[in-house]
């Protein structure tokens, strides 16, 4: 477990390794309305960048709203930094940007942050520091209403950083950004996630999560359907082999004891086997008269894994 000066007295007392812990967290809109979050059990460890991924409407934003106290759960519990979610005590160490960053359009970026700093009882000097951190100093004295989407997002992140929080909760921080803006935001997120700070990030963009997160939870219909590190979720790499004749190659590979599985896909063999066996596979095929024209180790993308998980979950639902 990582220890550091950023731990609040509460966390030192509780000794919890998790900065976010939910149990059976459920949110239903209206008495018989939509079940947005369903029995969610989420655990985010101190110091990690955790990605909550899922399709639109999966319940990511609603879950985050409950974690910062904007919404009350229908049932279940959530603890943030060792305290009940949304209480003043838990919010002391939390910086958040949920959905679009919303500020007063007639105030400058700097004045908007001054307002938020006053509400958070943060020293005004922090305003300049966080503006510099998100590289918005040069436009800080322009009105928020004149900002581009990228600048609005950066101001939202700046507001979330005002308290120098232990936990940063960011909901779809690259939404609406152009490719350059997305790249800039990724660099910023990686920087923010360094050291002891914990980041909970939601997204429906798998590449964003792949490039920023240590651990990922896949959420669908308000439930976590899979969770793990990126490599755990991706599983082992596979070997893709282009060989002629394909049927003969399939027979040979299927007979190999160390192969976990093989299938024919789009004129190629996809073999579930350790990539260190590539040489042996090649030798087995060639010595049995099969021509091997291509042999490539392939790492499954998170997007592929995500789509497979969603499909499997749909099938299990019947």
């Amino acid at each position: 477990m990582q220890e550091g000066s950023k731990m609040s007295p509460i966390d030192r007392q509780s000794g919890s390794d998790f900065v976010i812990e939910t149990a059976g967290l459920t949110k239903r809109y209206g008495k018989r309305g939509v079940l947005a979050v369903d029995d969610l059990c989420l655990r985010v460890r101190r110091g990690e960048v955790y990605g909550l991924v899922g399709p639109n409407g999966a319940g990511k934003t609603t879950a985050m709203r409950m974690l910062v106290g904007l919404m009350r759960p229908t049932s279940g519990t959530a603890r943030v930094l060792g305290r009940p979610a949304g209480t003043s005590g838990s919010l002391t160490g939390v910086g958040a940007m949920i959905e679009a960053p919303d500020f007063y359009p007639f105030l400058t970026g700097r004045d908007n942050l001054r307002v938020m700093a006053e509400h958070a009882d943060v020293a005004p000097e922090r305003v300049g520091a966080v503006l510099a951190q998100v590289e918005l100093t040069s436009r800080a004295d322009d009105r928020f209403g004149t900002y581009s989407m990228g600048m609005k997002q950066r101001l939202g992140v700046a507001a979330a950083l005002l308290k120098d929080p232990e936990l940063l909760i960011l909901d779809e921080p690259t939404t609406g950004l152009d490719p350059a803006g997305i790249a800039e935001m990724r660099v910023l997120l990686r920087r923010l996630g360094q050291g002891m700070r914990t980041v909970l990030l939601s997204s429906h963009l798998m590449t964003e999560v792949e490039q920023t997160c240590d651990r990922v939870g896949v959420i669908r219909r308000g439930r976590i359907v899979a969770e793990g590190t990126l490599s755990e979720l991706r599983g082992r790499a596979e070997l893709q082999v282009r060989a002629l004749p394909l049927e003969r190659a399939l027979q040979i590979v299927s007979a190999l004891a160390y192969v976990d599985g093989v299938r024919s896909d789009d004129g190629m063999l996809v073999i579930r086997v350790g990539t260190d066996r590539a040489g042996e596979i090649n030798r087995a095929l060639v010595t049995n008269g099969v021509d091997v024209t291509e042999l490539t180790p392939v790492h499954p993308s998170l997007e592929g894994v995500f789509l497979r998980l969603v499909r499997e979950d749909e099938e299990s639902d019947g």
């Binding site: 904007l70 003043s88 001054r114 958070a120 005002l162």
Partner: protein, 276 residues
């Protein structure tokens, strides 16, 4: 104090508040002094009434302002309350603010304090304009230019502030209830103009309405202002009010109860409802 300072910063830079203040000052100067004085000077010397001039002199400032506060300035206060609270929903800033940890009760108290201060400053500004208009008239007419006694000024300020605060809180409550500005302003003005106005028109024929009209905002506002020399606009216009009047202490009590109910309703809605 931090949240209060934040609310003051917002209010200071909010153009809508400056526009409302400018309208209030312009209405005071133009309708309260400039046009009545032109009208007074335009009439023949024989038909001039001493009371018409007396209404324009500095000594009559409290009564003149309190005549406009129960309805016309009340409507402007209602708009201010709706803008201050409804704007947070329209801009989505309620969510951003609450994530900074102030707590819903603290935010409400800060907003109420800032609104109360804004109303007090507005009253002071309006009084200064009224005196600034009344003194030249007194000098031109060779009339008494002395101000009302300090005690009358203090009572007038207290009564005016309370009336404006009740209207502003009605606007705030409607804004929180409707999570926005437009509907709140529409409903508030409809209530002031149509509901109270129209029902009052039938109070002499229907006894239930007569009893009900004793609880109206305008009834109690005018009743509180009347002992300080305020006169209600007669006739069937939108701001017209011909009674009933209740005792001043009763009016004070009813207005304080209204203030409590509107503030309480705001607090309950803010605390209990989810912020989307």
């Amino acid at each position: 104090m931090g949240s209060f300072r934040a609310e003051l910063l917002i209010l200071r830079k909010y153009a809508a508040y400056r526009v409302l203040l400018a309208i209030t000052l312009a209405v005071t100067a133009l309708l309260g002094y400039v046009l009545p004085y032109i009208s007074y000077r335009s009439s023949s010397v024989d038909s001039r009434r001493a009371t018409d001039l007396a209404d324009l002199l500095p000594g009559h400032t409290v009564a003149s302002l309190l005549s406009a506060i129960p309805f016309w300035f009340g409507m402007l206060a209602l708009i201010l309350g709706a803008l201050m609270f409804g704007g947070e929903y329209g801009w989505g800033t309620l969510k951003t603010t609450l994530m900074q940890q102030p707590g819903r009760s603290r935010l409400l108290l800060a907003k109420l304090a800032a609104m109360g201060l804004a109303l007090a400053l507005t009253l002071i500004a309006v009084s200064v304009i009224a005196v600034a208009c009344g003194v030249p008239i007194a000098l031109a007419e060779g009339a008494d230019k002395s101000l009302p006694p300090a005690w009358d000024l203090a009572r007038g300020f207290g009564a005016g502030w309370l009336i404006l605060a009740v209207w502003a809180m009605l606007g705030a409550m409607l804004a929180v209830a409707s999570r926005g500005t437009a509907l709140a302003i529409g409903l508030g003005i409809m209530y002031g103009l149509v509901f109270e106005g129209l029902l009052s028109g039938f109070r002499e024929q229907i006894s239930v309405l007569d009893a009900l009209s004793h609880a109206f905002l305008r009834t109690n506002a005018y009743s509180l202002a009347k002992p300080l020399g305020a006169t209600a606009e007669q006739g069937g216009g939108p701001g017209g009010f011909s009674g009933p009047f209740v005792e001043a202490w009763q009016a004070l009590l009813v207005l304080v109860i209204y203030l409590g109910i509107f503030s309480g309703a705001c607090a309950v809605m803010l605390r209990r409802r989810d912020v989307a």
